[in-house]
């Protein structure tokens, strides 16, 4: 049956796309459908579940902690995104300037943090910030800046700030490279023309660079938002993995993970995954629209 089908020359193309589609159906489409099926179930024990309809979705949407986790996620993302984009843009502009020596080396240095796995960075910072034995407190106490060691990771706001800082440190180099690619794509003729017309550097930056960089900034924003909404690894390893202190590091995905793999409630976690999916979808659509209209 298949032999005849593929003997036709027009149909041979299907053979070439078959491997990809098989992989996609098995590893992407099937899990997506199965997750929905799971989200309609409630566990009885680790192996057995019962059908509960949309009760899990109802629990997600009426759960205070779920909204806390959304708030945490957005706060951590914004606190890292804003400085990240500013740094990346500034460094990108500076490092595309051909008169600067050693810019390749600098570019590499800024990009390096991105190559370290997030979990090792998390562990490193956990050691640095430990209140009685941590390096930061030792330094502060020895220099006489503070009298008593500060319990950094017991303060929710500071813990969130630490995650944002790590994210910023890890990602501004990457964003910078993308910005530089965008900057290099802007034709130098435009700057020459502006220069001849008497535009200052600042004017050129705001009138030429920024508007033409908009698609790049949009790209960075969408990818960063999608990545930021899924932030999981650093909040997971920086404290005890349960969102301590006081759920301040409980991001949406960490909440999902803990429900699925620590509380063994796959149904509820699957419902969370779907809600998270819809949220990301909405935000991406809104962003695209906002940038589209301004064009």
């Amino acid at each position: 049956m298949f032999n005849n089908f593929f003997k036709k020359r027009d149909n041979k193309g299907y053979l070439f796309i078959l491997p990809y589609f098989l992989a996609m159906l098995t590893f992407q489409v099937y899990p997506i459908i199965y997750t929905f099926f799971l989200s309609l179930q409630k566990p009885i024990n680790m192996i057995k579940s019962e059908f509960v309809g949309f009760a899990n979705y109802q629990r997600v949407l009426t759960n205070e902690l779920f909204y806390t986790s959304i708030g945490n996620t957005f706060f951590i993302w914004l606190m890292n995104y804003i400085p990240q984009i500013i740094f990346a843009l500034l460094l990108g502009v500076i490092l595309t300037n051909k008169s600067i020596k050693g810019r390749e080396a600098l570019r590499t240095a800024y990009f390096l943090p991105n190559l370290v796995t997030a979990s090792s960075i998390g562990v490193l910072f956990a050691v640095l910030l430990d209140w009685r034995f941590g390096t930061l407190n030792h330094a502060l106490v020895n220099f006489g800046i503070v009298q008593e060691p500060i319990k950094w990771l017991s303060q929710g706001l500071f813990a969130q700030g630490a995650v944002s800082f790590i994210q910023w440190w890890q990602w501004f180099g990457y964003t910078m490279i993308i910005m530089m690619a965008g900057l290099n794509a802007i034709s130098s003729e435009l700057y020459e023309a502006a220069h001849i017309d008497g535009a200052s550097r600042t004017q050129a930056f705001f009138r030429i660079t920024l508007p033409l960089l908009k698609p790049t900034i949009l790209y960075v924003m969408v990818t960063s938002l999608i990545g930021g909404l899924q932030i999981f690894d650093i909040p997971r390893v920086l404290t005890n993995g349960r969102g301590a202190p006081d759920n301040s590091l409980l991001t949406m995905v960490l909440y999902l993970y803990n429900q699925a793999f620590k509380n063994f409630n796959l149904g509820y976690a699957a419902a969370l995954a779907y809600v998270l999916f819809i949220l990301i979808l909405i935000f991406s659509a809104l962003l695209f629209k906002a940038f589209d209209e301004k064009k």
Binding site: I47, A126, R132, S154, F261, N263
Partner: protein
């Protein structure tokens, strides 16, 4: 079309022959008692989250030369082992013939029916019980009262202290004299104040208040969840208040159990006591307090001693059972039975590793010969032998680990002064709602 039909036929034939094979084996295995160990032949797969079992297989093969054991270690860092077991068993694909479960989640395994009940024929595990520390098989009984797993070890708890600090603070490092201070919670606190005063806050009684959690969690008579209702034991509240007092008075060093700073405090001599069980001595304290000596590069200093903790407790433990979906249950049971009860093996194992075994006959036999150089020659076996009999963990339930963690989180916030006592208790109740949404909480 023909080809597809052929394929389907082949698949069907091989499937039925596999099924028939499985049934044949089950039928064969009804009378094992008359079989000699060498009569059992075949291959089984064993999964565990530590490599301990790997060291037991050579002993097993001495007695059962024809059973090949394939051993797979899946560390449980980030719940990997637990999830691997869950996904494999949920898929119904079979998986290992034998697998282990840890104290934090073995009750979940039992509730889910992952392990084959062993009390009835053809296993008759009840025959083994009289020689085992009662709680070890006892706490694996399922809803029908059937034993589902065994273990080579029992894990009673102790308290380990630095002799040099004891000498400077109490004027003696004698375990009996030190125990007078450590075996009572009020006296223990007093001792902490003495350490604080002696070293003006440079050394501490405990590395962290959290080290007390295990014996406190054992101080209860009822399960946390009973008739779908949450019981908060009085010990929880006492623990929270005591921890805060210890922090405020500089009696504990402020590290958290299992954190890097907790491990490093064992070596730097700043902490007097660690509250750890049997395995904690060999796998946690020895390698971290004196790593070189533990690798055999030099002799142990003997600066440690064992004293009686403020309350008897059991912490952790590994159980081993047969996958209820295994097709090689006869062979699998030989392995579980061997590891969980064989006197010859357990005696050798105890002497080789120093681990505390669960067979009472072996305990009685090896106790006189033990002397631990790390503990300055003290016989830890004699102490653990007495403690093991006191353990009662009938109150344990499947969600204890999660509930205790949730309490621990709130204790930390109270101790750090972020929350008031009442806020912490209220937020604990909210956290339990996240774990068990249907449990009634007053």
């Amino acid at each position: 079309m023909k080809k597809i039909l052929m394929l389907a036929m082949i698949a069907l034939v091989s499937f039925t022959s596999i099924m028939a094979n499985g049934q044949k084996e089950a039928a064969q295995s009804t009378d094992w008692s008359s079989m000699a160990p060498a009569d059992f032949s075949g291959k089984i797969t064993v999964w565990s989250f530590t490599d301990e079992i790997g060291g037991m297989i050579p002993y097993f093969n001495e007695l059962y030369p024809n059973i090949e054991v394939e051993f797979v270690v899946i560390p449980n860092q980030d719940e990997v082992y637990l999830n691997k077991i869950n996904t494999t068993l949920r898929s119904g694909a079979g998986g290992p013939d034998v697998f282990t479960g840890e104290a934090a989640f073995y009750k979940q395994f039992i509730e889910a029916g992952y392990w084959e009940p062993l009390s009835g024929a053809p296993y008759n595990a009840e025959e083994l019980v009289k020689d085992l520390v009662p709680y070890v098989p006892g706490s694996t009984r399922d809803a029908n009262g059937k034993i589902t797993a065994l273990s080579w070890q029992a894990t009673p708890g102790a308290l380990f202290y630095r002799r040099s600090i004891a000498k400077e603070v109490l004027g003696t490092d004698d375990p009996a004299a030190v125990s007078k201070y450590t075996s009572d919670l009020n006296k223990f606190y007093e001792l902490g104040a003495m350490v604080e005063k002696k070293y003006s806050g440079e050394k501490y009684l405990l590395a962290g208040y959290g080290d007390m959690a295990q014996f406190i969690y054992n101080l209860r008579k009822k399960p946390y969840v009973e008739n779908n209702k949450l019981n908060i034991p009085q010990g929880f509240y006492d623990y929270m208040k005591l921890s805060k007092e210890m922090r405020d008075n500089n009696i504990e060093a402020g590290t958290s159990t299992w954190q890097p700073s907790w491990f490093s405090s064992m070596a730097d001599g700043s902490v007097m006591c660690y509250i750890l069980p049997t395995w904690g001595l060999h796998y946690v304290l020895k390698p971290n307090a004196e790593p070189e000596a533990n690798n055999g590069e030099k002799a142990f200093s003997g600066d440690w001693g064992l004293a009686v903790p403020p309350a008897s407790y059991s912490w952790g433990g590994t159980w081993i059972g047969i996958n209820s979906m295994s097709k090689e249950k006869a062979l699998a049971y030989q392995f579980v039975k061997f590891v969980g009860s064989n006197e010859d093996f357990l005696e050798k194992w105890a002497k080789k590793t120093g681990d505390f075994v669960a067979n009472t006959k072996v305990i009685d036999k090896v106790t006189p010969s033990f002397s631990e150089p790390f503990l300055g020659g003290q016989n830890h076996y004699a102490y653990f032998g007495k403690e093991a009999k006191k353990i009662d963990v009938s109150f344990r339930g499947p969600w204890d680990f999660q509930i205790e963690n949730a309490w621990g989180d709130q204790v930390a916030l109270y101790v750090d002064g972020i929350k008031s006592f009442d806020e912490a208790v209220a937020d604990f109740k909210k956290a339990v709602k996240e774990i068990l949404p249907e449990v009634e909480i007053e």
